[in-house]
Symmetry: C2
Subunit: 225 residues, 2 copies
């Protein structure tokens, strides 16, 4: 498998990345092709599609060798305590480190680095290797009637995000909006309940500190990372 492209965005830390694509649309990412695949012809026609699939490679810094695999995983959506078969989840801990994300095209431009595809809704860390890009075909890919298993029950588990008064004005507006949306997804590793604990999320060069009490997340401090 060849790295044909990679993603560039403001999410340089694993912590805080949305758990699926399409959940956080204020984060804009750019798909940059590797030198060998920088060819405007290769994306010709893509401008007629609104969405694309990205097949990408999970960071495999899990400490496991590629020969090991776990039949069951603990999805964060289930609180991190319930085990489910790996093929019933989108967990990164799977036999082949393949990720699948649907993103919305916002712009396709040309540049010195070849064609650039700007997309909204990616759940990929900055620098992630991309193996394939395919158009989203609603007649075969869209199944609104599909039943979504355990994931359905936790769709509305978002947090209310409150910024301490003196913080938000100091951030650029787009970063403030994107960070708020990321935080509302509850970036904690699992549903912990420790209102006193301070967490940190890096985004767009900032270190954002916050705490969570029940359904309310309060940003307490923001510093350059």
């Amino acid at each position: 498998m060849k790295r044909i492209a990679h993603i560039e965005n403001d999410m340089s830390d694993k912590f805080g990345i949305p758990r699926q694509s399409g959940l956080v649309c204020d984060v804009i990412s750019t798909i940059v092709f590797e030198p060998k695949y920088r060819n405007a012809d290769a994306v010709k026609g893509l401008e007629d599609f609104s969405h694309i699939w990205i097949i990408w490679e999970f960071d495999t810094d899990t400490g496991k060798t590629s020969e090991e695999w776990s039949p069951m995983v603990r999805p964060p959506r289930l609180g991190g305590n319930t085990r489910v078969g790996v093929f019933a989840t989108r967990s990164p801990n799977r036999p082949n480190p393949l990720g699948l994300s649907c993103v919305k095209i916002t712009e396709i431009t040309s540049s010195e680095r070849g064609p650039l595809i700007r997309v909204a809704g990616a759940d990929l860390k900055n620098g992630t290797s991309i193996l394939d890009i395919k158009p989203y075909l609603p007649y075969t890919d869209s199944h609104p009637e599909a039943s979504g298993g355990f994931a359905d029950d936790h769709l509305n588990d978002t947090l209310n995000v409150i910024w301490s008064k003196d913080i938000s004005p100091s951030l650029p507006d787009d970063i403030y909006k994107a960070a708020s949306e990321l935080l509302s997804q509850d970036p904690r590793p699992s549903y912990q309940n420790d209102p006193g604990r301070i967490y940190g999320m890096k985004y767009a060069g900032y270190d954002i500190r916050f705490k969570v009490d029940d359904k309310t997340l309060t940003v307490t401090e923001v510093e350059p990372a």
Copy 2:
């Protein structure tokens, strides 16, 4: 990348395989895990989902080495004459031989060969290597409002299928139904217009001969393959 499973069905010939998943639902396929991945735990929870994604490996018997790639391809839906960027198509001739298909789960059973997932709507040839199986999550995967580019314009390009009187009764009913649905998708390599030409499609151990005049496909002969 490891082959974790493969598909078993009645489509043993490349010719006649549907061009996308979900188009031909009368063809039932079985996903069989490779020995190392035969573990009932690994599919636990999948019974709550109606659809899954299959990420699979294209047959790369194209005569090209893996180092070559073509930025543009000629999709059959466009008659085979118009060139489009490879990343704006689902063509198999792409840098990494990755296929993506959404199929409907009809049954999950256990067997001597481990768990079997029976699915409807696959567009994979019998024996195709499967690299990953993921649940279909409608909240992130379903976008009925997405625009589908050139593919939208050719959605209704199906053929009326007529079987010569003395043929159809000799076929088992499920094979007759599935073959009819496959043929209605127009298995010809591109939109040729040669009403006299006899084509052949192998399915379920039968060699099915047919000709096409405008929008009507007539099955002229069926023999054991």
